[in-house]
Amino acid sequence: MSQEPQRRPPARIRVTAPRTRAAAARSRYSVSRELAEQSELGEMFIRSLMRSQLRLALVVAGGFGLILLGVPVLMLLFPSINGMSVFTVPLPWLLLGAGVYPVILVCAVLYTRAAARNEDRFRRLVDDDRSSRPAWSAEPE
């Protein structure tokens, strides 16, 4: 479970699971992670990555929540909406039964892109830091 045992190709073993302590899969550590764990600067990078990811998630969740809440609020404020219909399907039914789903998908795609961008930025920061240039000379993207 820990570091790869001296390059020996893993033989096909009888199945067991010594993983109750769950300190799983360290061998997959990337350089950036090792660095991030070991240095104070690395920890700062991680903190700022977490902050930007959390902020992003909260913004997307909040936006979606507002849209979702908007449907019943609109219905309350403008009761005439309840009277509108498309092919006999009333507008509120259409919005809740079908219209919400594309919104969810758009939120998901936008978030995924932005989250990947945050991670790219983090990778570049860490790389810069490793290549002996002072970390703070890196231009903020």
């Binding site: 993983r19 302590r21 799983a24 979702l68 809740l96 789903y101 969810i104 795609v109």
Partner: protein, 498 residues
């Protein structure tokens, strides 16, 4: 109708067992067993997640609820889908990167605490059992309505098939089974729905009856209050975050980025699927209104094809729908049994494959006994209750564990215990007291709106009080959860070295 339906039902069960036996050939190691050695690609994995997630509540319950309560019911599929959005935003990638196999593994790694692990295990098993019971109720209902056989046969068949498949192949083969079952479920609803719409259109028969199908007069229940809808949405949004069978699926992604991509695909698959129960529900308001008053609303999906299409074609489509319904019970139940067996076997049997198999039998047998001893309630409603419980217990631990360095083991345990206690007792009180509780009935029946914030608050406050006991490993764990994998050292599927 019985022969065609029986064939459909049998075909789904046999196909499920066959696919899992085929999967056995490539299921070799413990990793295969528990998490398919993390080699599952996003599309497969997304189909599998969709297959696992769309349970009896989605397949039968949503249409039934639309029949009974009209537009208020539309919040259920929205909540089920948007729950995945929350999962994507807050949990998907960090959870994958945590490297843990199960929720208790995550708790142990993050909090560095055995007691926290044990409390999480108990909750996961409880939630899993509570979630399986409605699936078995759905199976019992389906068998009784469509074949006329005694109801217990349905529940028993599901448990036997699930135990066989899980024991045979573990997670790897389950992935294939689940992926197959998503597409089966989609077909089983989409084909009859499209057929019904086309036939009705061709005959000039009413589809929405000039909009009358949407009229609230057809609702059997009173319009839901704002509180109930909000509380329900909170339960569904946050409850999804803590479902054990959903979470274990994220460990089968190769890396955090793939976990996100998978989740986006899942959202698309869910959005597509939920169009059809809604169509069934609306048609049901015209063609099967008697089911609403007879307390059999959950059978709408099963009986509608024959009501609309009559004899021959209706029989075939009814067989298809029944098969799809069984796929729903089987896939959700097997997903839950796999994740429960993973937890139970690690905590009780030290994680051997034999222990996994024993645990699988245990995980399926207990809910079977409960299901046989209790009566079915509205499927969508009882699943909603489980979501409220999950949202008040596992979800705060997971969210705070991922995003807040300050969470301590004591805080997590206290929060989970408080959430379980208040949410559990509210639900029990509502079930026992019923309408006799007056103004409190609604607060107790749908507790998420206050029990979730309460659990969060307890967790934060106790963590602050025990701040000196923060696990020393927290920085390392946080780095592991949030730092992206590097593209060039990206992990490749395990296997014999080249």
């Amino acid at each position: 109708m019985t022969p065609a339906v029986l064939v459909g039902l049998g075909a789904v069960c046999v196909a499920t067992v066959l696919i899992s036996v085929y999967g056995l050939r490539i299921s070799r190691t413990t990793g295969d067993f528990y998490v398919a050695s993390r080699t599952v690609r996003p599309w497969w994995n997304a189909s599998a997640i969709g297959g696992e997630y769309l349970s009896a509540a989605s397949f039968l319950g949503v249409a039934g609820l639309i029949l009974v309560s009209g537009i208020d019911a539309l919040w259920f599929p929205i909540g089920y889908t948007a729950g995945y959005l929350m999962l994507l935003l807050f949990v998907a990638a960090p959870l994958r990167r945590s490297g843990a196999y199960t929720l208790p593994d995550f708790a142990a790694a993050r909090l560095d605490s055995r007691p926290a692990r044990r409390v999480t295990s108990v909750l996961v098993v409880t939630i899993g059992w509570l979630y399986i019971v409605p699936q078995l109720h759905g199976a019992a209902l389906t068998v009784r309505i469509t074949t006329g056989l005694p109801a217990w046969v349905g529940a028993a068949v599901v448990v036997v098939v699930v135990v066989l498949t899980v024991m045979a192949g573990g997670m790897r083969s389950i992935t294939f089974v689940q992926a197959f079952q998503y597409w089966l479920k989609l077909t089983a609803l989409a084909v009859p729905a499209v057929f019904a719409l086309l036939t009705l259109g061709a005959q000039g028969a009413p589809i929405t009856d000039g909009g009358a199908a949407f009229h609230p007069d057809l609702d059997v229940t009173d319009a839901a209050s704002l509180y109930r809808n909000v509380s329900l949405i909170i339960a569904l949004l946050f409850g999804t975050l803590g479902l054990p069978h959903v979470l274990v699926r994220f460990y089968t992604n190769p890396d955090g980025t793939a976990a996100r991509r998978t989740t986006v695909i899942v959202l698309g698959l869910l959005a597509l699927f939920y169009l059809f129960p809604t169509i069934f529900g609306v048609l049901g308001r015209i063609y099967t209104p008697d089911l609403a008053t007879g307390g059999q609303a959950d059978a709408t999906v099963l009986l509608l094809p024959q009501r609309v299409l009559g004899s021959a074609g209706g029989d075939l489509l009814a067989a298809l729908v029944t098969g799809g319904a069984f796929a729903a019970f089987l896939s959700t139940t097997s997903g839950l049994v796999v994740s429960l067996a993973g937890v139970v076997s690690q905590d009780l049997f030290r994680g051997s494959v034999k222990g996994f198999r024993v645990a699988a039998v245990l995980s399926a047998a207990v809910p079977l006994v409960v299901a046989l001893a209790t009566d079915s309630r509205a499927l969508a409603g009882s699943i909603g209750t489980v979501f409220a419980f999950t949202a008040s217990t596992i979800c705060p631990m997971l969210l705070l564990g991922i995003w807040w360095r300050g969470l301590t083991a004591a805080g997590a345990i206290a929060g989970m215990a408080a959430g379980a206690a208040v949410c559990g007792s509210a639900i029990v009180a509502a079930a026992v007291g019923g309408e006799g509780l007056g103004p409190f009935a609604e607060l107790l029946a749908q507790p998420a709106a206050w029990s979730v914030p309460l659990a969060f608050t307890v967790m934060v406050v106790v963590s602050k009080l025990t701040a000196s006991h923060r696990p020393a490993t927290v920085s390392r764990v946080m780095a592991r959860l949030h730092a992206p994998e590097r593209a060039e050292t990206g992990w490749r599927p395990a296997g014999p070295p080249a």
